[in-house]
C-alpha cells in the first residue's frame, strides 16, 4: 500500500477505536448520573402520594384534611402510626413548617435518605400553613 492509503486506514482505525472507547466508557457514567436522579424523583412522587392518601382518609365522618388542619392550627399532635403502617411506611415525620409543630413522628435507627412532600393548609384571611411529610420509603 502507498503512503496515502496507510494514512487513511490509520485515521479510520483511530476514529473507530476512539468511538468505541468513548461509547462504552460513558455507559457507567450515564447510569450514575441519571439513575440516581430518576430514583430521587420517583421517591419524591411516592412521598406526595403518601401525603395525598393521608389527606383522603376519613374518620368518624370527618376528612383527615380537616382534622390535620385543625391539629396544625391548634399545635396539637395526632397518633398516625397505624395509618402509616397500613400504607407501608414505618418511618415518617409529619410537621408544620411555619410553627415546627410535629404532629406525629416515628424515627428509624438507620440513616437512609428521607423524602419530603408538602401541602398548603388554608387559614382565614388568605393565610396558610405548610404541612410537611418526611418519609423513608
Amino acid at each position: 500500500m502507498k503512503g496515502g492509503a496507510w494514512f487513511v486506514l490509520a485515521f479510520v482505525a483511530v476514529a473507530f477505536v476512539s468511538f468505541a472507547v468513548g461509547m462504552f466508557v460513558s455507559i457507567p457514567f450515564l447510569r450514575y448520573n441519571l439513575v440516581s436522579h430518576i430514583v430521587t424523583q420517583i421517591e419524591m412522587n411516592k412521598a406526595e402520594m403518601a401525603l395525598l392518601t393521608l389527606l383522603s382518609l376519613r374518620e368518624n365522618g370527618r376528612d383527615y384534611a380537616e382534622l390535620l388542619a385543625e391539629k396544625a392550627m391548634k399545635n396539637e399532635t395526632m397518633d398516625l402510626d397505624e395509618v402509616f403502617y397500613e400504607m407501608g411506611i414505618e418511618c415518617f415525620r409529619l410537621y408544620v413548617k411555619e410553627t415546627n409543630n410535629v404532629i406525629d413522628e416515628t424515627t428509624c435507627n438507620d440513616k437512609e435518605e428521607t423524602y419530603a412532600a408538602m401541602s398548603t393548609i388554608p387559614l382565614p384571611n388568605k393565610k396558610h400553613l405548610t404541612l410537611v411529610l418526611e418519609v423513608r420509603l
Binding site: 389527606l55 376528612d63 396558610h128
Partner: protein
C-alpha cells in the same frame, strides 16, 4: 522495533484517548439532556395533577373560608382565586349559588406549566355555617 514506530504508537494511543473522550462527553451530554428533559416533562405533569389533588382535599375548607369572608359572589370569586394561587392554580368560578346555608359551586381549576396545561372541572355542593 523499527525506528519511529514507538512514538507513532504513543501518538495513536493519545489520539484514541482524546477523541474517545470527545465521544464520551458528547454522548453523555446528548443522553443526559434528553432524559432529563423527558423526566422534567413527566414531573411537571405529575406535579400539576398533585397540585389539583391537594386543592381538592381542602376544597370544603376553601369554599367555606372564601364564602364566609364576604358572603357575596364577587368576594367569593376573588377569595377562592387568591386561595387557588397558594396551590399554584388558576380558579375560575363558573357558577355559584348560595341558598339556605347551602353552597353549590362549579369550578374550573387550571394548573399551568411549561409543557402542560391541565384543566379540571369540579362541582361541589355543601352546607356552610360561618362562625
Amino acid at each position: 522495533m523499527r525506528k519511529g514506530v514507538a512514538p507513532a504508537l504513543v501518538l495513536a494511543i493519545a489520539a484514541v484517548l482524546i477523541i474517545g473522550f470527545e465521544f464520551f462527553a458528547a454522548r453523555n451530554l446528548m443522553y443526559k439532556n434528553e432524559v432529563l428533559k423527558r423526566i422534567g416533562m413527566e414531573q411537571e405533569f405529575i406535579q400539576a395533577l398533585n397540585r389539583i389533588e391537594f386543592f381538592k382535599r381542602f376544597l370544603k375548607t376553601l369554599v367555606k373560608l372564601s364564602y364566609c369572608e364576604g358572603k357575596d359572589l364577587d368576594s367569593f370569586k376573588y377569595n377562592l382565586a387568591e386561595y387557588g394561587k397558594m396551590y399554584g392554580l388558576t380558579i375560575n368560578v363558573m357558577s355559584a349559588n348560595f341558598r339556605d346555608g347551602t353552597i353549590e359551586v362549579s369550578l374550573e381549576v387550571v394548573a399551568k406549566g411549561n409543557f402542560f396545561t391541565i384543566k379540571d372541572l369540579i362541582d361541589q355542593r355543601m352546607s356552610v355555617k360561618c362562625d
